[in-house]
């Protein structure tokens, strides 16, 4: 049976992915110390230089070191993705729990709201919200968070509905636990695994969204660097051959998102066998 062999291989890949996430996080945290140059410092003499020992990832139009900018940009991407995911999770879980527990018109209202939000492709909605609220980092976080809320709402509500019907909850109620306690102590542990899986996968989407928003000019504004925005700055140079400005930021995005996806997939396999599809 090829099964154990594949599982081992995937676990190796997942370990590598976990390692990658760790590297990116540490680099983001230690950015000011890790980056060899000041990311905003122009150096007209070294403008648009290709990769070299002095500048391992090259320089841009103003002579700014791309490696340093990449590291600092990683902070923004991770921070935005993390905050957006955390906010979406908290908000979504609360809404879902409330809707699932209360039922009735509360449930209907929340689910119709969720339907309305899910009627838009997430990116388009994030686009529109950022345009409406303005281009600050906080607004980008809010926009991405808003588009992710439905996922968690549905998830938690589903778990809540299921758990309400189990005898466990029945039993707890007859013993005399207050409903509030039932929620916290008996139902949530079941919700945590799928939440973790979903949140990990959502990190990848969040990074792709903030990168795409910044690429088209609606997300993080210069001089703050961000991977998608760096790619946008480099885009104009592709037709004249300065490839390094586009390759490295995009690679950073891809590897980070890939890492989150791989870890998320593995977590899904390990924590929640019910969710596992045919691999």
């Amino acid at each position: 049976m090829p099964w154990p062999w594949r599982r081992l291989a995937r676990n190796r890949l997942s370990f590598a992915a976990l390692g990658a996430i760790l590297v990116v996080t540490v680099a983001a945290l230690l950015a000011p110390w890790l980056a060899p140059y000041d990311p905003d410092e122009p150096d007209a003499a070294a403008a648009l230089a290709s990769i070299s020992v002095r500048h391992p990832l090259g320089t841009d139009l103003y002579g700014r070191d791309q490696l340093s900018r990449l590291i600092h940009a990683g902070r923004v991407d991770l921070l935005v993705a993390l905050s957006a995911t955390a906010i979406a999770l908290t908000l979504g879980a609360t809404l879902g729990a409330g809707a699932g527990y209360r039922g009735g018109w509360v449930d209907h209202l929340v689910m119709r709201g969720v339907d309305a939000v899910m009627a838009f492709p997430a990116f388009i909605l994030a686009l529109a919200i950022t345009a409406a609220l303005g281009n600050s980092t906080a607004n980008v976080v809010a926009a991405i968070a808003l588009t992710h809320v439905p996922i968690y709402t549905r998830l938690i509500r589903g778990e809540m509905l299921k758990a309400r019907e189990t005898e466990y909850a029945e039993a707890a109620r007859t013993v005399g636990n207050r409903p509030h306690q039932i929620l916290l102590y008996h139902l949530f542990p079941n919700c945590v695994p799928p939440l973790i899986v979903q949140a990990t996968l959502a990190m990848g989407f969040a990074i792709l969204t903030v990168a795409a928003l910044s690429f088209i000019g609606l997300g993080i504004q210069p001089p703050q660097s961000e991977w998608g925005q760096m790619t946008a700055e480099g885009a104009g140079y592709v037709v004249s051959g300065e490839w390094w400005l586009v390759l490295f930021p995009g690679l950073a995005i891809m590897l980070t998102v890939l890492a989150f996806n791989l870890v998320g997939d593995t977590l899904r396999d390990l924590l929640d066998p019910r969710m596992r599809g045919v691999r």
């Binding site: 103003y62 504004q221 210069p222 001089p223 885009a235 037709v239 004249s240």
Partner: protein, 540 residues
Amino acid sequence: MSPRMDRRSFLKGTVGVAAIGAAGVRPRRSQAQDKRTLVVAWDTDIDTLDPAHFKAIGGYVTVANCYDTLIGWKVRPIKDKPGFFRSQPAEWDPMIAESWSTERDGATLVFKIRKGATFPSGRPVTAHAAKYCFDRGLQSPGYMRLVIPSLIQVKSPDQFEVRDDYTFAIKMDAPSPMALDVVTLSNNAIIDPEEAKARATKDDPWAGEWLKRNVAGVGPYHLVKNEPGVEVVLESTKGYWRPEPYFSRIVLKFVPNEADRVLLLKKKAIDMVVGRPGLSPKNVKSLEGEQGLRVFQVPDTTCHWLCMNGSKPPFDNTLVRQAVNYAIPIQAILPNVLFGYGTQMKSPVPHVTPGHSGTLSPYKHDLEKAKALMKEGGVKGTIPVDLAVRVGYTTHEAASVWIQRELEKIGFKVNIVRETDATFRQLAIKGGHGLSLESFQSWVNDPWYHLVFNFHTKSKFTNASFYSNPILDKLIDESMHETNSEKRLGAALVAQKILIDDAVWGFLWYDSWTRVMKADLSGIEKRWDTFERYYAAKRT
């Protein structure tokens, strides 16, 4: 293998072959491009064709080529730049008006309308059309409604007179040295009154909605195609009152990315790039030596300055404003941001405008002096301030970084904020900016035109610094219509001294107008409003 699989691989195969085939074959040039077609790349759309309104560049260029005015700015050849022409101050050519004269010591302008000019509808152009256009300018919503009363002192449509079918007169309250320039503005284009009146409604008596989308004037070209985001096509008009232009077709292609515009020029796939500025100074510089291309540059009247909001702290303090002027690294900005296509601003009045003085300004980059002035101004601690810059204005974005670094050395904490054109203008009008990078071009090349719009207290929309000085206001009011040239220019010196001493602007630079084009083009003309008119253009 099952047929289904065969079909699939067959499909894959054909797509692949087609792709490779398409890649290898270079499309033949169709008759779209021939010598008599001028292909231009820009990054703007036509938002409105109504002459009386402010417009995007796309609108202005189209109106400039499709609508004649009564008179036009004359151009002269430029020494050692063969094929290029520019305007000198106070020189005009007859257009719809074949001659003009004055009465009442210059307070009345009389225009003789030429016979033989016809509108596209076939109706002749008469003095009645001229009156309609000026009436419309004065009364319909638009830019002229403000300009006509203040600049040429006409307050009522009765002052626009039809003396006979081919004589049109403007009776100003008093002589105005700027009058002929104002008449020349493309905003005062001659419109076919019958066409416009036929589309007037109760809510829209001046046919604004119709003129927004349609051209109803006499011009060397007419609009054949307007596909926003793709291209605009103009074709020469049959039966135009002047000889046919060399280029029978102008194709203005929408190319939003500057890198692509540069590429098109290098591949000689287009003739020229236009826009404001169309190409950033860096790219113009990089094309200087390119085979088969020519770079045309000429000093221009567009002013760029660091706008300080004088209506609130900290920039209501003159000493702080002066300090800022000593912190501006203009000697670094000129080579690094403008690549030499600009001139240091020594006065609020542009250097090619009559009355300009370049010797009154003491400001230069001197951080010690700047810090001393800040101290003298009573500034304690670090002042946080937002510097607003418009998205897409590459020179402004680059300059803002240089300015930010210097200002932070003298006690500011500068946060650069990028805004879209619309947001920027709305905030500026409301007084919402502390620091911003502004630009302005006076299409009437007269110091008082420039000064009234930028510095008079009553110029709410254009006085971006909110500067209010009753002495200057009085000087402007008196000198605007001063006909004695010596007094007029002398007073301009006084005004400049006041403004420089008060450090109203953070002085930056005046643009050089640049165009990059194929080397075989000639007949390129630079007039005061900088909008290209292709009538005289040709290939050598």
